[in-house]
Amino acid sequence: MKQHLSPLARGLIACATVVLVAIVADAALHDLLAQNPFGAPRPTQAAEPEASGIVGWLLAKQSEFYRQMSSTIRAAKSDGSAVWTLLFISFAYGIFHAAGPGHGKAVIASYLVANRETARRGIALSFASALMQSLVAILIVGISAWVLNATAKTMCRAEGAVEIASYALIAAFGLRLVWVKGGAFIRALQTTQPVPAIAGVPHVHHHHEIHDHHDHDHHHHDHHGHDHAHAHHHHGHDHVHDEHCGHSHGPTPSELAGPGGWRRGFAAILTVGIRPCSGAILVLVFALAQGLFWAGIAATFLMGLGTAITVAAIAVVAVSAKDIAARFSAGRDGGGALFMRGIEFGAAGVVLLFGVGLLFGYIAAERTTCF
């Protein structure tokens, strides 16, 4: 595999990154404008009808599965085999439904890119947060509706409170990422001279950090087997890591990578998973009303599984895209690191943007509507 790329290839990658970042930013901006109650005129409407093909299909599929759920739960009262249909529908709904920042997909993807996480961890995070999401929905309905027999109004208020808390968590999480990644980006900017990758700048933490990364690497080799592409891939990755660490001061999140990194991963899981899906809450309450609460619980877990698969797929794409960029930019010492720090900083910014946007109601993709 080539380490040094033609300027053309690098240019292409740079362009693709710009496009990707622009699209993410556009999606966020789109929401900002769309949710403006005083309605700023939106000049660029041209892209909308084109997108409606895929969107329409996704929405139709999702609605189809969701609307079948209530009739299937009803059917399950008299016919036990309908439960299997319910589980399948819930799973399919979960797969199609996991399309929105409210479900933390964008947050997870951005977090993975910002934190230089591995695809493996990305998948684990996706599944853990989806599981937590299911559990929170079951707890909310189980405690408020089943145990306390609270009204929808009370339940919706509880849901709303959890929602605000989750948005605040995303914003806080994004702020922390921006703080760390902004520092790294500025340090990369200040490095005018390309620094040899292996040497680094003498520093107290230096040996410690290098050591850490060796552990990290070994860990991956163990799990990934001895695939050639992977070995190379991690090599390229390391290149960047070492370079970065030469300048690192504070304890960056990458220092926590590896088996002990769950402490850090937990923050991501909590941030994304604390917010239950409105659809799951409705299904649970409906199942409870039909006297089949357990079927609702099973459906919720299957929904979570479907959601996890979609989110994991997107997480893997995000991490792979980042790794490709890392491999290409690794060919150039100074500029490559700056480029990668820039992407990470941008991704951290996206997390913050989502958090703040959701918190202040500019983005209302998955808003809890109490009425």
Partner: protein
Amino acid sequence: MGMRALFGWLLAVGLTLASGAAQAHPHVWITATSELLYAADGSVTGVRHAWTFDDMFSAYAVQGLESKTKGAYTREELGPLAQTNVESLKEYAYFTFAKADGKKERFQEPIDYFLDYKDAVLTLHFTLPLKNPVKPRQLVLEVFDRSFFIDFQMAKDNPVKLVGAPGGCQMKLDRPSDGSATAQKLNEQTFLNGENSNFGMMFANKITVDCP
């Protein structure tokens, strides 16, 4: 390698696009019928809606409510819920948007509101009086949720009624599911540079009444 990388990026871009666009999806379905109310002099005074919720949301809404007969709720027992509903709907402008000859009209707070519960689904009835009754040549009424949390569909039978309208008035309904070219075109013309242009627009139910 180059091709694979390019493919990866394209995939990433595609997924991001899809996810950005598909972030709104309904959780509540409403089947609506609407009556346009006319005064004796031929001016429009308001709209009377009857919104039937889907069974899942209905079960959610009546959760924990006291009722004399299990599984049945009287209009009185649902009174507080109806009150909450119309109060909450204010924030969303009752999902009802009127234009008289292109000019935006505003509504007063709802009157005569109540809920009934039949066949395990709730129907919310309420009347929205116009702030100022109007007598336009063309009245456009749209019912939709701009965030698409709620999917509004006009009823199959008798979705719109003109109550006491002057003779010669023509009513036309454009449903979002029709995918009819006219609805798309009119929406674009009317709202492209207006304040309502956004994603939820694609799902608007558009009632147009032309009077001589």
